[in-house]
Symmetry: C2
């Protein structure tokens, strides 16, 4: 990936026609005059001097071989941070506060273990790195107060699928395998994992598991935590592996302590995942619903009846309005706008439903779902818009790059709560985001969708867009991030539904798990990583956010 | 419950007519002549002298009130042990190796916390106690090497349902609420939990959660670990509560560290559970299948298609043969025997399917399930046998009492593995049980059923019956338990699918989670229970089994 944004060079995704004009119109004067600000060149990124000792480097070379320890400028820049808004703001400006002194590429589980042993012996912090797509600072190359050097452990070479047991719907997959590779290799066996986060093209299975990822089709296939049957993890204290038995009462579930541990307890090297036969039929369609509340009730009813489609995604009124405004002159957009116009444009939400499975199963599921949607006032807008959503499902991050060049702040954050509390949480977080940015003179657009539904509740995914505060981009981001995080904690939502904690959500983890919960996580870390080499400054180790004070 | 067995006095469950003759015929001479051996009277049970100091007792009284600290003989006997085979052998003989010095009955979460604080301060071990139905020694009143006294913390007063959120399908329930009370209180809201372990009449929600229980309908409703949304736990280091959000990426899942912790990390006081509308229709039916392998393939196909009935229970050939032999002259038994006779009695398995839900849903599900069963050679035996199974679903433990009086060893053990390994595990464990008992001159009957099915595998539940070795009942039990445990570990099954670890499975936990896994559990315990007052000798704290050397 290019260091300053998403995708590879030459893979640009231009803003839809008219989008920029729309944003200027909506965001007001501040955005209207911004001249484009492209990222600096790679060679102009200033890195801290490398501090790895010769002895430490020699130990790493002994672990993985000379060819797999790299410390050239480009490699260090590409592993300095992830893809969060503050990461990109800093990378585009060529000023990164930290970078790995070297990047090591172990080739198997034992080499990962050897790297960790070398790090522990030489006092070098180790940052596990899959696709590097964290949007919460999870892969930022922090060394912490106790280590004089930091290396990134890139798991790209752990890319494989083996031990496929189709009868048991299980496969063992290397942690460094990217989304497309997972699906390509499983497809050879007629199988799928069905995990499609927006980062799918670049992120890895190990990263998904380490961050408790949810995919766009997780309502159907389950979150990654539902799909993990067993794990193999290298830690500075040895290897820990969990059994892939289907059900057990053999004490606490250590798998669930390792899933979501974000590289702070160990490095996941292999995952035994639950797989399924590849779907032969996919049908994506869009419906219009009278308002967000009606859409939420629709999703609740579908999920509690056990018939929610694999993709079940409800845009709020604002997201619907802006999507239709940007959708140009397609027939779906026209129908949608007509629908809204008939309602005075004050209301109206779109619901995207993606059915996947065998032909009979999809037909049967649609026949059960449609009456429920209609009962709540749903009007079919057809499948063309659904297919379009599916085709563009991974495009969001590309657009972000273009907006950043146009000096537009764009970020997302997500939470979840019970059905009973969902609308209250929705209002509280939206209000906090709007207030924080309005108070800084950059009133935002705030959109939201519900994209993961459970029997007991659902997620909320907010996107907000505002004119950048020139010269105070990080302070502006910090203000809105802090306001939203506080609002989520106050309303009892989770601080993150699928982006993980990393560095950017760490200040709120204590509110969610309590002080004793934090201590319990620290006790686990002390046992597995007694010298604290693994991913300092993340998860239980909250420091100040970028742009703070 | 009566101290020496199951149920209340006057609630006897006589053996089916002819059962005893059948067992004598099958088990041979050793069982033929056994004269009945009734349990001793309560007053004849010999207890160790109580060792609680006056200061410690005063601290407990301060925590819960004088009326809720009891140390009379009957109370101590009733809390001395659970309901495992070695427990009952010893209780019936009036010789219990350990008993609580007192039993305390806290009335709410804060009183539980106060009890634990008093225990920690005065060096008194504390054994959490729900229904007392553990079959793995989980509630045996062990004090461990570091404590001079032990009290049992009986949670019977924590019996309530509150904060029912029907929209979110969530309810908060007291840990001491028994199965019938859970269902009675939820029924007032039109809801059900759907958790029916064989111990249902006496066991409690807190006990289910602490032991990762599975119910007889868990294929439909999910294991208790699937049904727990949030927890509140009192520990000697403070309270830990987990949020009931439906999905989160906020780090490791601490809930899953507390579920299955068997009272060694804390005392569960409240559980927020997932609930559902009560089913309006239930249809239980029995099918005959050609053999175990065909039945397993049937269950696998049903589960992987997402249509397995709530109760999906497959008896192996031996269990089928014995059940039909004992079923007398019912029409189902006649049909079943005719089916077996036509196959030379060498093969044939019964499959019990229990459908629950709305009338339409049940009809629809049956219409999907039946062709699959028929495809694998299934022949319908009708619903009468299914209803009979349902009516007697909690009766097993009552029969055990009668067999013990008749000097018959009867015990059960359970495991689980992937579909791919299931038949190998079945053969290995069955062979180990048979060999161990044959080697002692008491050849057994060994039956098995598959009763919990998952997409990736299933459970195996073995029942074995043999003539008791007079005067060496515990040594005999130890021989077969050790042989079965070793066979399970060698074959990669879990040492327990739903009975938990307790004391009796602790020697095999290390084989399942590895030495570092054990250390991780010990680190969690050291943080939450630094002086080790909670349930010594259980889970991570393996001692010798009853009857060992």
């Amino acid at each position: 990936m290019r260091f300053w944004g998403w995708g590879t060079d030459g893979h640009d995704e231009p803003l839809p026609a008219g989008a920029l004009e729309l944003l200027r119109r909506e965001l007001g004067d501040a955005a209207a005059d911004a001249t484009p600000r492209p990222p600096v060149a790679l060679e102009d990124v200033r890195l801290p001097a490398a501090t790895l000792t010769d002895q430490a480097r020699a130990a790493l070379v002994a672990a993985v071989g000379e060819a797999h320890v790299r410390d050239d400028h480009a490699t260090r820049v590409l592993h300095a941070a992830g893809k969060s808004y503050p990461d990109l703001v800093r990378l585009r400006a060529g000023t990164v506060p930290s970078a790995p002194d070297a990047v090591v590429y172990p080739g198997d589980h034992d080499e990962v273990a050897a790297v960790l042993a070398a790090c522990a012996e030489h006092g070098v912090a180790a940052v596990p790195f899959g696709g590097g797509t964290s949007v919460v600072g999870g892969v930022e190359a922090l060394r912490g107060p106790d280590h004089a050097a930091v290396v990134t452990v890139d798991l790209a070479r752990l890319s494989f699928v083996r031990e496929v047991d189709a009868r048991s719907q299980l496969a063992t997959v290397g942690a460094g395998t990217t989304g497309p590779e997972v699906e390509r290799l499983l497809a050879e066996h007629g199988l799928t994992l069905g995990h499609y986060p927006q980062s799918f093209e670049f992120s890895t299975l190990g990263g998904w598991v380490a961050t408790r990822s949810a995919g766009q089709a997780s309502t159907g296939y389950g979150r990654i935590d539902d799909l993990v049957a067993g794990l193999r993890v290298a830690t500075p204290s040895g290897t820990i592996a969990t059994s892939a038995v289907p059900g057990t009462a053999a004490g606490p579930d250590l798998r669930e302590l390792l899933v979501g541990s974000e590289g702070t307890l160990g490095v996941i090297t292999e995952v035994t995942v639950r797989v399924r036969p590849r779907p032969t039929t996919a049908r994506y369609e869009v419906w219009a619903l009278p308002d967000l509340a009606a859409g939420i009730e629709t999703l609740r009813e579908l999920r509690q009846a056990g018939i929610a489609p694999a993709v079940s995604r409800l845009s709020d009124e604002e997201e619907t309005r802006l999507q239709l405004a940007m959708a140009g002159d397609s027939s779906t957009a026209k129908i949608g706008r007509a629908y809204l116009a008939a309602r005075g444009r004050a209301h109206g939400c779109t619901l995207t439903l993606g059915f996947e499975g065998g032909a009979d199963g999809v037909a049967d599921q649609r026949a059960r779902v449609h009456p429920v949607v209609r009962h709540h006032g749903g009007v079919a807008l057809g499948s063309r818009a659904g297919e379009k959503w599916r085709d563009g499902r991974f495009h969001g991050p590309y657009l972000r790059d273009e907006l950043l060049t146009r000096r537009v702040l764009v970020d997302t954050l997500e939470t979840a709560t019970t059905w009973g509390d969902l609308l209250d949480l929705y209002r509280a977080v939206g209000a906090a985001i709007r207030r924080a940015l309005r108070d800084r003179g950059t009133p935002p657009l705030v959109m939201c969708h519900v994209s993961h539904v459970y029997a007991t509740g659902a997620s909320l995914y907010f996107t907000f867009v505002a004119a950048q505060e020139d010269g105070a981009e990080l302070e502006q981001w910090h203000a809105v991030k802090a306001a939203a995080g506080d609002a989520i904690a106050a309303a009892g939502g989770t601080i993150t539904h699928h982006h993980a904690i990393g560095r950017d959500h760490a200040p709120w983890l204590g509110a969610e798990v309590g002080p004793l919960g934090l201590d319990l996580l620290r006790a686990a870390k002390a046992r597995l990583d007694p010298t604290g080499v693994l991913n300092p400054g993340k998860l239980v180790d909250a420091g100040p956010l970028p742009g703070a004070g």
